[in-house]
Structure formats: C-alpha cells, structure tokens
Amino acid sequence: MTDQTIFISILAAAVTAGTPILYAALGELVTERAGILNLGVEGIMLAGAVSGFIAAVTTGSSWWGLVAAMAAGGAVALIHGVLCISLRANQVVSGLALTLFGTGLSGYLGKSYIGMPVPHPFKVEPLGPLANIPYLGPVFFQHDILVYASYLLVPAMAFFIYRTRPGLILRALGENPAAVDALGFKVFNLRYLYVIVGGMLGGLGGAYLSLAYAPSWLENMTAGRGWIAVALVIFALWSPWRAMIGAYLFGGVDALGFNLQILGVTVPVFFLSMMPYLFTILVLTLVMARRGGRLTAPGALGLPYNREDR
C-alpha cells in the first residue's frame, strides 16, 4: 500500500468508527437540549447492541435488529425519564445507575449469543457515482447504509433545532422550562419525548456496533464509547454539526491506533488502546481552557422541573 491509500483508509475507518459515537452523541444532544442530563448512554448503547443483535439473530433480519435496539434504548432511557422528570431524582446518580443496569442487563441477555454470527449484517454498499469521487468517495461514500443515514440525520437535526418552531420549544425546554410551561406546553411530556428519542438514538449507536461495525456481540463491547459520546456533546457545544466533526475525530484516533499496528509501529497495543480515552480528556480540557472554564450549556440542564417552584 502506498502512503496515500493508507491515509485514505484511515480516514474511511474514522468515519465508521465515529458513526456509533455520532448516533449516541446526537441522542444525548437532544436529551440535554431538553434539560435532562443522561449519563447512562453507555448502558443504553449496550442495551441497544445486545437487543439488536438478539433480534437480528432470531428474525434473520438486521432491520428488525435496529427496531429492537431502538425500542430497548428508548425503554431503558424511559426509566431515567421517570426517575428524573417525575420523581425529581438526582440525574447524575440515575445516569450512573442506568449504565450499571444496562451493563448487567446486556451481559445477562447476551451471554448465550457470544461468538454467534449475524445472519445479514449491514454491508458496505458504495453510494452510486458519489463513491467514485477521488478521495471523498472512498472516505465518505463506501460505507453501509447506517453511515449514510447519519449524514441525513445531522442536517435534519440541526434544521429541527435551529429553524423550526418545535426546535425552538426544545431549546427553551433546556434553557427555561417555566417559559415553555407558560406558553401552554406540557414540560413533562415533552421532556419524556426527548429523553426517549435520545435513548432510541443511543440504542441505534449500540446496534451499529453489533450489527455493522463488529458485527458480533461481546460483553461490554461499547468499551466506553457511551461516555465518549457524553464528552463529545460538551465538545460540540450542543451543536449537531460539531458533534459530527467530533465523532469522526474520535473515530480517527480509534482507527489510527489500529492502523499504526499494521504500519509496524512498535508501541504496545495497550498504549494504543488508551488513546481514545486520553484524547477525550485532552479535548475536553482544551475546550474548557479555551473558554476559560465557562460553557454555554443549556441553562436548566440537570435541574428537575417543578411547577410549584415557578
């Protein structure tokens, strides 16, 4: 391989490695925009990955796998919703509980599926003439359909958040829920909606791992990607476009470690595997340091809403 083809293959790998993180980060982004902090993304992704895998193996169709993964992600997120929206629980601790529960649940459900193949995993399907564009084609348009779907989801979500009326309400939910309430919208119902939608996207991110990226089920196969997605939302300053850039950046670091080994770099594999985690800390620190420790997070993020406190 020439240096150029290696470079292109690393970039292409960055996109596939970044896609599960991207879906999960977009899910967390809408959840946080609605004012709910969900630190359970890791658990949600695992629940999605395992349910998607089991459904795909049982029905023989990966599409049913996706449906199951989104349902599982939404259902697990709903627990967080009930605790944090209706019961005003501590959102940090509830999210942690969700991660632990999701890890246990997926380990329990998936035990007998370890090592099984997916009957029809999502395969690479070059996207018509776009796939032949020099450089861009192989990097962006020689992937599976879920990657292409994420290309549509990012602009759609950006349009929704910044250009539509429901998007305006969503932003207000996270900034000032009392104002949304005063306009006559049901704050609780809307927050439930976005928490569940966020969970469904997290489940989809998990299913991408088990049905397209791997494609197989391994215990704890997310390996911290859910947490990286949470960090990514901060890095992205709650913007879908920046989340996309960030996801590919993280995917690139992930892919780089793998490719450095192929290139014969003699760094022990353990240190290469540390890179995404250290990179997360580094990036988060840079973002915070550049902004002098102040963020433009949604104003009501993490605070339970209580009508009587208005």
């Binding site: 019961l87 632990l100 353990f270 540390m274 988060l284």
Partner: protein, 358 residues
C-alpha cells in the same frame, strides 16, 4: 384521583430508613419479572444466591472477601460525593493502587513484612490518590467535568496494569500466563484464621471510625459538608474550596488505591488482569444506597457482597453472573425513585387531612 406532592419541612427519618429497605425488595421483584420473562425461576434463583452466599462458612467468608473492596471504595467515593465531586474513577484508582503496591515486592522481594506491608500501603494509597488528583486539577483549573475524566482514567488504568502483567512484569516461570510472580510471604496481608478474610477489613473499619470522627467533630469535615450543600455559602464563609477539592479527591483516590493494595496483597498474592469485577462501579451504588453514611456503607457492602457471591454461585445453574449487576442497578433505581418520599409528602387532595404516610 390527582396526587399532590407537598414539600416536607425536614427530610423524614422514617422514610430515609424505609426507602432503601423497600427499594431492595422492589428491585428483586422487578428483576424477578424480568427473569421469569426470560424463562428462569426467579425465586429459586434468589434462594440459591442466598444459600450460596450465606449457607456455608465458605460462602460467608467469600461474602466478606467481596465486601471488603466495596467498603473501601464505597468509603473513598462517599468522601468525594459529600462535596458533590463525582469521583467515578474508583475502579481505575483501585487498579493503580494495586499496581503500585505490587511494585514494592517485585522490586524489593527480601524486605521483612514489617517494612514491606506499610510500604505497599503507602505506595498504593499515594498512587491511587495521585490518579484522582489529575481530574481534580482539571476541575479546579478549567471546570473540566470530573465525571468524564475520572471515568476515562478507569480504562487507562486498567490498560496500564494489563501492559505490565502482559509485558515487563510477566512471571518468566508462569507458563506464559499474564500474571506477575507470586508475592513473597512478607508481602501478604494476614488473614483471619484459615479463611480468606484479610486484614483489609480492619482498614475499612478503622476508616469508618475516622470518618465518623471527622464528620462529627472536625472543622474539615464541617467544611466538606458545607461545600457539598452550597458552594456559595462556603465561599461567603471564607472556606478554601479549591484546596478542599484537591484534598478530598486525593484522599478519595487514596482509599480506593488501598482497596487495590488489599486485593493484591490479601487475595490474589500477585497482580493479574481482571483484578476487580467492577468493585469501583458497584461501590458507587453502595455509597449512594448508604446515603454516604460510613457505618451504613459497611452494611450495604455486605449485602452487595451477598449479591456478588450469589451471582457467581448461580453460574452453575447456567445463569450469567451479570444477573448480580442487573439487580444492583435496579436497587439503585428504586432507591432514587423512592427518595422523593423523604423530601416530599404525598397528599390526596380528595381526602382531607389524610396523607399517604406517617
């Protein structure tokens, strides 16, 4: 009938005791539904877990063995949680503590126990503490979210230990298994009789007493509580918040590091991968379930030790051990959901003067 929540003037003591107890029962029922949906006999399974963990002297000693790291990590975590510092990094701090403690006998194998063991404790605690100090620095300096940084460092810490046991520290006489050489006898913590219960239990109990004294009688304990309740109030009172963040994270990490030292020195007798089945994560639930109360952490740790051992036991029935983690997560859900009852009173406006509790 509409239900109203009325804020209590003071948190209800009765409820703060009843909620965790009821939560455990509800979590078991919740998981029972789930288990039977997946074709298991939940109550037989629970009985087997209890029997396995408490029905024999071996089971009892294993339960204590699993409870020790939970106590230590739970205590370490609770210290940070009291100040609203979310140290999620107990797992990594445990691994780093184990790593540093292992360095002592590997480098100086001929030290007498009286020097060796204290050196291992000091190295383990110092390294665990320093591992937590990094996130504290980033938090103080630039408000970097410590949840994410401490959690990311868990993965790094585990990989770090794996590098050493698969690489430079691998026992040349170990048939290529990823294990360090066995520790000399002087590097092993004394155990209770012939059981596997080691003196780490004593470490935990000493810490409990220390915690109680610190939080009842010391100015420092008072400062931590005030900062946790309201940073603004603490600042007006002239308390040094940054300094306390450093100290608390350092101590928190050090205690988790001690847990790692106790695991290699008291149980494994060497450093190996998979040293902890997630004690650092389970300890988060333990700390919260115990309401950060040091004495309660001891009891909850024993309860979770039962779950952990029970989880291993039911593997012989073909049930994955992760069933324990699932139940633990569910317990925390119900505790969290029930906490509203300690802060609020449920009122049925239809029935005048009757409330749902006390």
């Amino acid at each position: 009938m509409p239900v109203k929540l009325e804020k209590r003037l003071a948190p209800s003591t009765a409820m703060s005791l009843a909620v965790p107890a009821v939560a455990v029962v509800l979590a078991l029922l919740f998981c029972a539904v789930f288990l039977s949906l997946t074709g298991r006999q939940p109550f037989e399974l629970y009985a087997a877990m209890l029997e396995g963990a408490l029905g024999s002297s071996y089971g009892l000693s294993e339960t204590a063995v699993k409870a020790i790291p939970l106590m230590l990590c739970g205590l370490g975590i609770s210290l940070a949680f009291r100040m609203q510092l979310w140290n999620i990094g107990a797992e990594g701090q445990l691994y780093l503590g184990a790593f540093a403690a292992t360095w002592v006998p590997l480098t100086f194998p001929n030290l007498p126990a009286i020097v060796m063991l204290p050196a291992m404790v000091i190295c383990g605690m110092a390294t665990g503490g320093l591992w937590a100090l990094g996130p504290a620095y980033l938090r103080v300096k630039w408000q970097v979210n410590e949840i994410i940084t401490t959690l990311m460092l868990n993965y790094v810490g585990i990989l770090w230990v794996n590098y050493f046991v698969y690489g430079p520290w691998r026992d040349p006489k170990g048939f290529n298994f990823p294990l360090t050489a066995e520790f000399p006898a002087a590097a092993l913590l004394p155990t209770l009789g012939s059981s596997r219960i080691h003196i780490g239990l004593l470490f935990a109990l000493i810490l409990v007493v220390l915690f109680i004294i610190i939080f009842r009688n010391s100015r420092w304990g008072y400062e931590i509580k005030v900062i946790g309740a309201s940073e603004r109030a603490a600042r007006y009172a002239g308390m040094d918040i940054k300094r306390n963040m450093y100290i608390v994270m350092l101590m928190s990490g050090a205690i988790c590091g001690l847990a790692g030292m106790a695991e290699v020195s008291g149980i494994a007798g060497r450093l190996q991968p998979g040293l902890s089945p997630g004690y650092g994560y389970t300890a988060i639930i333990v700390a919260w379930l115990a309401k950060l109360n040091p004495l309660a952490i001891v009891f909850v740790s024993v309860l979770f030790g039962v779950l952990q051992v029970g989880g291993y036991i039911v593997q012989t029935y073909g049930v994955p051990a992760s069933v324990a983690a699932m139940i633990q997560g569910a317990v925390l859900f119900f505790v969290l959901g029930g906490e509203i009852l300690t802060q609020y009173r449920i009122v049925f406006p239809g029935l005048k003067g009757v409330s749902a509790d006390d």
